[in-house]
Amino acid sequence: MNSSMEKRQASDTSEFQENLEILRRIDFFSALSLQALKVFAYLFTREIYKPGDYLFHQNDNDGNAFYILSGTAEVVRKDERGEFCLGKYGEGEFLGGLALLGDMRRLFFLKAVTDMTCLVMSREKFAKAIEQFPDLMPRVLGTMVDRIRSWEERLFIDQDGLCDTCKKKVGVSLI
């Protein structure tokens, strides 16, 4: 992986251009104007993680969002009852948009399973940047609301997988 990274560094297209292309595909950012998108593409940094590295810790308020360029990460929750793996995320997925918008004490760990490369954005950078485009905030919130709604809608579409107690607790979109 290292060698592939080195190769990319000496290329005629810039990382900025690549980031810009990627951001246009993430629906969290899709509502932004091109000028805003450029600033965000510029502010995203690339980070590498090795198997076993944590992208964030349970209970931390790190405020980072991640776009996975390559590799896989798993969601792990630890409590009095033990340690549970709750799912996996892989290439092309964007995680943590909500953490950009406000304090988000993590409910679980995100841990790299394989070598990973991610685009990372911090809440501080996001806040500074969105400050420059105040009219975009409503649109970002709109996208977020829409995402939460469709997330729960999908839950009902494959309802069969839901246990009975789980059914009683649905209603994220009612917050």
Binding site: N2, E6, Q9, A10, S11, D12, T13, S14, E15, F16, Q17, N19, Q35, K38, V39, Y42, L43, T45, E47, I48, Y49, K50, D53, Y54, H57, N59, D60, N61, D62, V120, E124, K125, K128, A129, E131, Q132, P134, D135, I175
Partner: protein, 841 residues
């Protein structure tokens, strides 16, 4: 001694004259008297030159009188200068004293006062409004005495010359004396309004600046602008009126003064024609009459300064005329060393408007006990902590600290016994070290570090850094320092040893995070310039800023076929960066990854517009230099707005070899090449240990790097040295070069270092990450428990289990109090706070 003095806000303006240097004032008076004489002399000479020397044709006399005339003029000028010097000295001294006294007074005013007072206002009062008062004190004795004496001297001289003409001349002054005070009165009224409006205005500006985030956030520029504009318009009108009255004072004065020659011409001319007055006498009279205007003018100017100064002075002092709530120092005893018990009885705190922020609070803590205050925001938990810490003066009930009523203690008693960490701790400009010893220095009353043996030692400080978890941050500051050749040669050679050890032990492990300096490879995390010269400059002309204008280097770039590709690359960087950052404010976040610094952005913006219109080879030489400089600053691994063309990379590697050959032949002393056995003075300590550059800002990787660095530093016994260097890190104004968490940790370290009997922590760990919060909590549980009594306002409920007592507050009252287990078993308010929240989501 200080206690018997009247507080500065009660002092009258004339009292400053009495307290000014009276010896200087007397000297000033003496000089002025001589100056008066030196001013009258030329008039007499003038008359004698015409009447005696010219009329009698006595060349000798002419020379004598002219010589005396000249001597008098020179003396008068010299004395005038001396007078200004003395006045200036006295005035500025008084101004400095006033500023100091007022500032010292303002700092002791109760916190409540500052709730309604904007910083801008305090600044304006201290800086601008008092200036005229100092001016006044400088003039206060000399000017009026001198002017009146001169006035009388001239008047006497005039009467001696011609009583009739003198009578006519002097008759105008009573008229002026009637008119002027009326006009001045109006000017004073306008001036008062001006002072008030300026005060509101500076408050408004202060508010806008400190709330700038909110303004940007809401895009409320227009609202703020219109508020400000209205005030400016008001000020504009007041100032116009004020100035008009001031000018009219001057005009009236001028008018009457110009009227008197007219009278003299008429009467004197008539007398001269009739032969009852000789011409020399008339000339002398007319010039003497002109001179009488000078002291009069000065007297009027002094009158205006006095009026202006007293208005401003009064207004300023009135505003700050409040008394501190507590004495600063105990009157007749040493500060108490109290035991850490706290007893609160029926405590209440009324805010303005009769709102009960605290109501009937009762609690008691034995020395060493720990109390957590919890509850929703607005429940009064911070207010309670602040009342115990004497930051607010409670309005009813008692707080007893070691048996003493807190309200009656002096500030010094309080700081000897209580350590307070506030919700938003303040970091002051200076070094980390200055900030850590701040509380100790305040306690010991010394403003210089190292003045007293009782100050904390380096070991104490390092321990406090470790306890609060800011040690690694400070180590980082130290590692990021660039050493200076002249001062640190010894340390530099030790670091080269650390480098060897690091290489043996960690190179493999950290290879992914560090890019090592390697002569045969392109360095993505070093700039192009470093890639080319591959060394650190020993002479100024080869520094990064100067390379683009260094003729030798420019010739080399031509020879290596690099000029054109670098210019093209610079142009690309310029275009892209300006496109992305063009309209953004100069904040660190935006410019961290940019080869263009915030202060250079405008220049490059204009350059980008020119680039859009012209070809590279048509650009001016200055523009080409700027582009070249930009390209040389480019760090491919960090500045991601442009790619690194592979062809350029190869050319640079070729160029590096060529440059090394050339410079070793032509000017071998100019550079020290990067080599594993030499310290590189242009790089930071960390980069020197690596012999390379770090590639990442990923916290996990940084942690691994930190661990290995700490290990090698311990092995080489350099850890403390580097931390000591890190403690010299300048934190910036308000600590803006630190993160919120770092500022909070510093504030806690500051208080831990003081080790007070009573610790009050008002949400002191709210900005910290989980780990640091847990670390400090466990420290409180182990090291401080039983040592210091602790009152902690706590926002997070998962850290309160170990407290001896927990008080749940609601609407200014304690709802329930007890141990964690008891309260949970009771299923009351605490239970609801913890579990109720869960159920609602």
């Amino acid at each position: 001694m200080r206690k018997t003095e009247t507080p500065v806000v009660k002092r009258s303006l004339p009292s400053w004259i009495r307290s000014s240097n009276l010896k200087l004032q007397a000297l000033l008076l003496l000089i002025i008297l001589i100056a008066v004489f030196a001013r009258v002399l030329p008039l007499e000479m003038q008359k004698r030159i015409i009447n005696e020397a010219i009329r009698l044709g006595e060349i000798q006399l002419l020379f004598l009188y002219c010589g005396l005339y000249l001597a008098a003029v020179v003396t008068a000028t010299g004395l005038k200068y001396l007078i200004s010097v003395l006045q200036n000295l006295i005035g500025e001294r008084a101004l400095a004293d006033m500023r100091k006294a007022l500032y010292h007074h303002i700092l002791t005013l109760p916190l409540n006062f500052f709730r309604k007072t904007q910083p801008g206002l305090v600044v304006a009062s201290l800086v601008t409004e008092l200036a005229s008062s100092g001016n006044f004190v400088g003039m206060a004795i000399g000017v009026p005495v001198a002017s009146i004496l001169t006035l009388f001297a001239f008047a006497g001289y005039l009467i001696w010359l011609n009583p009739l003409l003198a009578g006519i001349t002097l008759s105008i002054y009573p008229m002026i004396l009637i008119l002027l005070p009326r006009l001045q009165n109006q000017a004073n009224k306008a001036n008062k309004r001006r002072v008030d409006t300026t005060r509101t205005l500076s408050g408004k500006i202060g508010e806008a600046i400190s709330g700038i985030h909110e303004i940007h956030g809401n895009g409320s520029y227009r609202i703020e602008n219109s508020r400000y504009d209205k005030m400016i318009d008001k000020l504009y009108k007041i100032r116009i009126v004020w100035n008009l009255y001031k000018f009219s004072v001057k005009s009236v004065n001028n008018f009457f003064n110009n009227l008197s020659p007219f009278l003299v011409f008429i009467v004197g001319g008539y007398l001269a024609i009739k032969g009852r007055l000789d011409l020399g006498a008339l000339v002398a009279f007319i010039s003497a009459q002109e001179k009488i205007y000078d002291p009069w003018k000065e007297l009027i100017a002094f009158y205006q300064v006095y009026q202006d100064a007293s208005v401003r002075y009064k207004r300023t002092m009135e505003y700050f005329d409040e008394l501190p709530e507590h004495a600063l120092e105990p009157d007749d005893r040493e500060p108490y060393e109290l035991e850490g018990s706290i007893e609160v009885r029926d405590l209440s705190f009324l805010a303005e408007g009769g709102i009960k922020l605290l109501d009937g609070i009762n609690l008691s803590l034995k020395p060493g006990e720990q109390l957590a205050l919890v509850g929703f925001s607005g429940s009064g938990k911070s207010t309670l902590a602040q009342c115990v810490g004497q930051l607010y003066k409670y309005t009813g009930g008692h707080v007893l600290l070691g048996g003493e009523e807190v309200a009656d203690l002096s500030k010094k008693d309080v700081i000897y016994n209580i350590g307070f960490v506030s919700q938003t701790p303040f970091t002051f400009e200076g070094t980390i070290k200055d900030n850590i010893i701040y509380s100790c220095a305040a306690k010991l009353d010394s403003d210089e570090i190292g003045e007293s043996d009782a100050m904390p030692s380096l070991d104490d400080m390092i321990e406090a850094l470790q306890q609060t978890g800011i040690f690694v941050d400070v180590l980082r500051f130290g590692l990021n320092t660039i050493l200076v050749y002249d001062e640190h040669q010894d340390l530099a050679s030790k670091i080269v040893r650390v480098r060897d050890r690091f290489k043996r032990e960690f190179v493999e492990e950290l290879a992914d995070y560090v890019e090592f300096f390697d002569e045969d490879n392109f360095l993505y995390y070093s700039n192009i310039a470093a890639n080319l010269i591959f060394g650190s400059p020993n002479v100024e002309s080869f520094s990064l800023q100067n390379l683009a204008v260094n003729d030798y280097f420019l010739r080399f770039l031509d020879k290596a076929d690099l000029t054109r590709p670098l210019l093209t690359h610079g142009a690309e960087l310029c275009r892209q960066t300006v496109d992305i950052l063009g309209d953004l404010p100069p904040e660190k976040v935006f410019f961290e990854q940019s080869p263009i610094r915030a202060d250079e952005l405008n220049e490059y913006k204009m350059l980008a517009t020119r680039l859009a219109r012209t070809r590279l080879h048509h650009l001016s030489p200055e523009d080409r230099t700027d582009l070249l400089r930009l390209a040389l600053c480019f760090i491919p691994g960090i500045h991601k707005m442009a790619g690194m063309p592979s062809i350029l990379e190869e050319l640079i590697l070729e160029g590096r070899a060529l440059f090394r050959e050339d410079i070793s032949r032509d000017d071998p002393g100019a550079l020290t090449f990067y080599q594993a056995s030499e310290y590189i003075y242009s790089q930071t300590i960390l980069d020197n240990i690596f012999f390379g550059k770090t590639k990442t800002v990923n916290p996990q990787a940084e942690e691994k790097i930190d661990q290995s660095i700490i290990q090698v530093l311990i092995e080489e016994d350099l850890l403390e040295t580097i931390v000591e260097i890190g403690m010299e890190f300048q934190v910036g104004s308000k600590g803006d070069r630190l993160s919120g968490g770092q500022r909070q940790k510093l504030a806690i370290a500051r208080v831990f270092l003081k080790a007070p009997r009573v610790l009050i922590m008002d949400e002191a760990t709210s900005a910290l990450d989980n780990k640091s919060q847990a670390r400090i909590q466990s420290l409180l549980d182990t090291r401080w428990k039983g040592q210091s009594t602790l009152i902690a306002v706590v926002h997070r409920l998962d850290i309160i289990k170990s407290y001896d007592k927990i008080a749940v507050m609601k609407a200014g009252r304690i709802g329930e109090m007890g141990t964690y287990d008891d309260l949970i078993a009771k299923e009351g308010m605490l239970y609801e706070l913890i579990y109720g929240k869960k159920a609602s989501i």
